[in-house]
């Protein structure tokens, strides 16, 4: 329990520091919310501007404003998004769902391809397949995902015309159209992940291959497939679970650029637009949520390890 408590405290400290830093940085962004309001409404006088400034607390130093923001946050109030003209929570909810859909599908697809590939490659180190997997792994950490997405658009949307280039659904809103809109962004994210997961899976399988318990299982007459699945794979999946859990946290914001290329209305794109559009409340909440997701991912990774590996529990 002590471990979990200190973990929580540490995460809270990171979140608090992050909010403080981001709050300070927001003030450095080009433009000023009051100026934007004045630009939107030419009838505003300078007295009105001063009154608005006081109303939003913008005449106070930013450290004081941060304190007030924090106090409101603790009461469960995220504030109002200027860009979307609705409360921040209402603006974020659909984006969160959209990112979750994109992430779950692409992660599932990547793992479904990568894990068997890694297992096969580990079965025959040095073979043609093994070298291909290795090359694929290097390619997938070296490719810019937004370019991969752009290339998919060029081939499948522009040249062949098979799939839509962006957005989430056709204007008519039928479900078939929605699936078609998902194909390209999901493929781009999955393609970029396959090589890395396959490489991790291969390394994990090879690390288990030399252990005594494998030899024991063989000696007691287990079939090769049983040794592979029940013994080697079960242990090799441990580090993979950790890697995937870490990745899930990062993916929430990491899909930002893929979402931008494909105009997918998810969290990453929301944060980007909020930062660019000077929407303080939305950007701050979005960034903190992204940080919280990353922290939750790494906590989840530790927890999974602890649950799945009795050796760690006993220590």
């Amino acid at each position: 329990m002590g471990v979990i408590a200190s973990r929580l405290l540490q995460s809270l400290a990171v979140l608090l520091t992050m909010s403080f830093i981001v709050y300070g940085l927001m003030g450095l962004m080009p433009g000023d919310p009051i100026d934007l309001m004045i630009a939107a409404d030419p009838n505003l006088s300078s007295a009105d501007a001063a009154r608005l400034k006081a109303l939003y607390g913008l005449d106070k130093p930013w450290t004081e404003r941060w304190g007030r923001w924090l106090a409101r946050l603790l009461q469960g109030e995220l504030g109002y998004s200027r860009l979307y003209a609705r409360p921040v929570a209402e603006a974020m909810a659909p984006a969160l769902l959209n990112t979750a859909i994109l992430m779950a599908t692409s992660l599932g697809l990547a793992l479904a391809v990568a894990l068997p590939l890694g297992i096969l490659a580990a079965g025959r180190p040095g073979s043609m397949l093994d070298r291909t997997v290795n090359l694929l792994a290097f390619a997938s950490v070296s490719v810019p995902v937004f370019w991969l997405g752009l290339m998919l658009i060029v081939v499948f949307a522009v040249t062949l015309g098979w799939l839509p280039a962006g957005g989430m659904a056709a204007v008519t809103g039928d479900q078939g159209g929605r699936l078609a809109h998902m194909v390209l962004p999901v493929s781009a994210l999955a393609l970029a992940g396959i090589g890395q997961y396959a490489r991790h899976m291969r390394a994990a399988m090879l690390a288990e291959a030399g252990h005594d318990y494998i030899r024991t299982a063989r000696a007691k007459g287990c079939s090769p497939s049983r040794v592979l699945v029940r013994h080697q794979l079960r242990n090799a999946l441990l580090p993979i679970v950790t890697i995937v859990a870490l990745e899930v946290g990062g993916l929430f914001s990491g899909a930002l650029i893929t979402e931008t290329v494909f105009a997918w209305p998810g969290m990453g794109r929301l944060i980007y637009e909020a930062v660019m559009g000077n929407d303080f409340n939305l950007a701050l909440s979005g960034l903190l949520l992204a940080t919280a997701m990353t922290l939750a991912g790494s906590a989840l990774a530790d927890l999974a390890y602890w649950r799945l590996d009795p050796r760690i529990r006993r220590q």
Binding site: M29, F146, L150, V154, A203, S253, L256, V261
Partner: protein, 277 residues
Amino acid sequence: MRAGVLILLLLALAALLGPLLLPEPDAMDLAARFAPPSPDHPLGTDELGRDLAARLLQGGRISLAVALATALLATIIGTAIGLVAGYHGGLADAALMRLTDGVMALPLLPLLIVLAAADPAKLGVPADIQGSESFAVARLAAIIACVGWTTVARLVRAATLSVRGRDFVRAAVAMGASPSRIMLRHILPNVASPIVVAATLSVGHIILIESALSFLGLGIRPPLASWGNMLTGAMDAVWSAPQLAVWPGAAIFLTVLGFNLLGDGLQRSLNPRSAST
């Protein structure tokens, strides 16, 4: 590793020879927008009729300058933090490592977007410097290095811990050498190989980050060319000139691949035990 070196050498050769053979990268020719490849323009022209090959090389020069400057800066910060944490231990170690963990837990791209969106004018940078190429490079290097030093710090700390108790360090302590002298003259040379590997591998990663920021309009801004912002132009013109998107991305991919292969090769030759995984 050989493939990595070969790719990087070819790119360097192209960057050196390109300016001699190709037109000016900023010269516009609005009559020849989106021109197909020809003897004058080996890769054709872009949306403003500029020579694509020349812009590609100019962008590459800037992207590489950013990546190398960032890698250097991040490596220096990370090495200093790792050395101090590993050598002094105790409270300094605990504080520095909590800081490292904290920075590693942050969502990288959104944070970089916030940092990059900061207005240089509000930081008091004079307007005439803001548009210069060296300011653009320095600005990005500083931003990316802010979050990019963590891997090196961890590696250096671990290596320092393993070296700290050796006899030659104790001899230096006994002879009365100052902590900074011990760290720089005795420990640093012995932890250099993991630093070199990490720095090489980080160059590729930084190029990807820089291109992503430039693609989003927050990194290198036009009229300066960078592979990332060339792709922004290509995306806007994707329906009329889809061929524009091919080359800048391929250049990023090849360069990053080159650095990753080189880093991996260095790792294998400097630390053969890691070669199995």
